[in-house]
Structure formats: structure tokens, C-alpha cells
Symmetry: C2
Subunit: 182 residues, 2 copies
DNA sequence: TCAGTTCCTGACCGATCGGTCAGCTACGTT
DNA sequence: AACGTAGCTGACCGATCGGTCAGGAACTGA
């Protein structure tokens, strides 16, 4: 069984993703979780605390897993391992990635968003001496993958099996990043 | 000299892009344009009308220019023409593209957003019999390009000359879309 | 049984925001 | 000069939302 706190956190994640942080109301999150608005604010002191709780796990996991695998990606096989892990992380934390990609610009003053931006920048800076094409490739790959995952739950028409999408995404990002590996 | 109406429209475009539609206040748009809040509402009946005015020109131009060039793109040279036009449209309407890509999900009930989504879907459907990789390639290219353009004004660090970015983007999207042409 | 604690709630408050309105100013027309 | 109209504004209103608070229910331990 889920605790109320974790149910509220999941409801907040879904609501923030579908309505945006500003568009999401605490009442709507409470309704989705099946509790009262005051109960939401009992478990999480504020709306911003709720966003922290919703995004935190994803940021933590990405920050701890990705850099290691990326640093180790020297051979083509290791690069494929990195790509698979990257895509799986993106799929596993699809909602969090969607929130971050689509709203980090407008929420740039929130500490949790700054933390996520710092993490991405640190990972990117780990790979020096890159030309403009490499930078563009990385940005297109990151933004494109997140955009695709953000769209698929809506446009059910072109939403195939999850694993098919995953494999294709690994393939396409591989084509994109092969010359430089992110 | 600019009319007040067009100055307000431009201010709204910038404010919607930087703060988001929900985060943008009519007062902030008025301040940016150097007029009063009541004056904004004199020229545009509502906040939603203002969004229509801000996004409309971009949607109109893309809808009238893109399909023709895309339909004609049979040879590699014609494909390059299409890519250049696509990237230039994206750059010229960078703010509108940024608003649409990052907020079309949370604003899916607004008529202007529905219109833009229909336009993109219609362009995409013009090219039948595509496999999963082609679909993923197109989505990554579209979302990635928009994400890159949305980021660059902020992270001035990696913002080179505009034309350098443009040429690189044409190159990278060319690599991505070459097998299928969007 | 009783006290303490956790979990939860309805009612309420202050602030903000979209939108309205009466009225002011400036200018063109007759 | 008199009038109409376009452009613009400050003041105001109703609604919504984030957050507070006093208190009730259920459980635990002594």
C-alpha cells in the first residue's frame, strides 16, 4: 500500500506535467490523490516543496547514474550502454523530464530547477573541446528526446509499443551522437 | 514608428516566452510596452486574444510556406532548400516556436494552440508510409531544434554568431532527416 | 482511562490577477 | 466653436489560489 504522502507526490508529478507548475492547483492535486487540499499542505509545506518532492528523485538518480556511465563510454559498445541507460532514465522519469524541459525556462528562479540545470551543465562540461556541431547535436538529442516522450502520451495515434519506441530512440540518438558521444 | 498595438503584441510575445502564458501578467506586458494595463485591454479584448495576436503571424507564415517547399523536396538540393527554409522560419519565429513547443501541452484547450497542433499534424501526415524510426527522427528534429533555439538566448555562454548556429542546425537536421526528409 | 501524537479536514484569510467602467485628453470634421 | 471619436488611464470588482488555523478522529503507550 502507498502512503498518503507518496500518493500526493505522484499526483503532483502528474498534475505538474499535464497542467504546468503554474496551472496546477493544490486543489486539483488533492482531488487526484483523493485527499483534501489541507492534507496536501500537511504533508508538503508549500507548492514549491511539492515540486521539489516530485522532481527530486529523478534528478538524484540521473545525477548519480549518468556521469559514471558517460565517463566510461570509450568504445562503441560502452557508448551503446550509455545510450540505453540514458533513454531508460528518460522513459522512467518521463514526467519529470517533461516538466523540466518544458518549464525550466519559466521557472528558472526555483532552487530545484537551478539544481537540475546545474546538473545538466556539469555533465555537458565534462566533455571539453567540442565544436559547434557537437553542441547542436547534443542539444537536439536532449531536447528532441524529451519532446518526443512528452508528446507520445497525448498523441496515442502514433504511440506504439513502449519497447519499440525505446529501441528506436536508442537507434536515432545513436546516429545523432555517434561522432561525439554527447 | 510602431503603433501601440504592435508594441503591445511584441511585448506580449516576449513576456509569454519568458514567463509562460500563465505566468505572464497583463500588467507585466503593459510595463514592457510602456503603457497601462487598461490600454493593453483596450487594444486586445482579453489575455487569450493577446496570445492569438502573438502566435498568429508565425502560424500563418509557417502554414503557407512550409507545405509547398516540403512537397517539392524530391532531390537532395530541394531537400536542402526545405531545411534552410525550415530553420529560418524557426529562427525568425523563435519566440513563437518556443511558446508553442514548451506550452502547447498545458494550453491544449486554447483554440490558437489547437490550430497550431492541427497544422503540424497535417504537415506530418502529408508523408505517409513511414516507419517508427522516421517518426522518431522527425519528432527529435522538431523538438530538438525548438529546444535549442529556446535555450540559446539564455545560456549566452554557448551562443555563437547567429549564422554559425543557423548553418550548424541546417547541417545537423540534414543528417537527421536525410533518409526520410521529415 | 487518559494523555500524547499523527493524520486529516472545513472554514477562513490575504493577495493577485483578469477584466470592467467612467471619464479624461487630443484631434479631425462640420 | 461645437461635436464625435479614438486612444488611454486610474480606480474598482469578482474570482481564484496559496496558505493558515482550530479542531476532530484514530491510534499508541502508560
Amino acid at each position: 500500500m502507498q502512503t498518503t504522502a507518496s500518493e500526493v507526490r505522484q499526483a503532483a508529478l502528474e498534475e505538474f506535467a499535464s497542467s504546468g507548475y503554474l496551472g496546477a492547483t493544490i486543489q486539483a492535486i488533492a482531488d487526484r490523490a483523493g485527499v483534501s487540499k489541507a492534507s496536501v499542505l500537511y504533508h508538503y509545506a508549500s507548492k514549491e516543496t511539492l515540486l521539489d518532492a516530485a522532481l527530486g528523485p529523478a534528478i538524484d538518480e540521473i545525477a548519480t547514474l549518468l556521469p559514471g556511465t558517460l565517463a566510461r563510454a570509450r568504445t562503441p559498445e560502452e557508448q551503446r550502454v550509455f545510450l540505453v541507460e540514458f533513454v531508460d532514465l528518460l522513459i522512467r522519469h518521463r514526467l519529470a523530464a517533461q516538466i523540466f524541459i518544458t518549464q525550466s525556462g519559466t521557472l528558472a528562479d526555483l532552487p530545484i530547477v537551478v539544481r537540475a540545470q546545474d546538473m545538466i551543465r556539469r555533465i555537458a562540461e565534462d566533455r571539453p573541446e567540442r565544436d559547434i556541431d557537437d553542441i547542436v547535436r547534443s542539444a537536439v538529442a536532449l531536447g528532441g528526446a524529451a519532446y518526443l516522450l512528452a508528446q507520445t502520451p497525448r498523441t496515442g495515434a502514433l504511440a506504439p509499443d513502449e519497447s519499440v519506441l525505446r529501441d528506436s530512440l536508442v537507434r536515432i540518438l545513436g546516429e545523432l551522437l555517434a561522432p561525439a558521444v554527447v
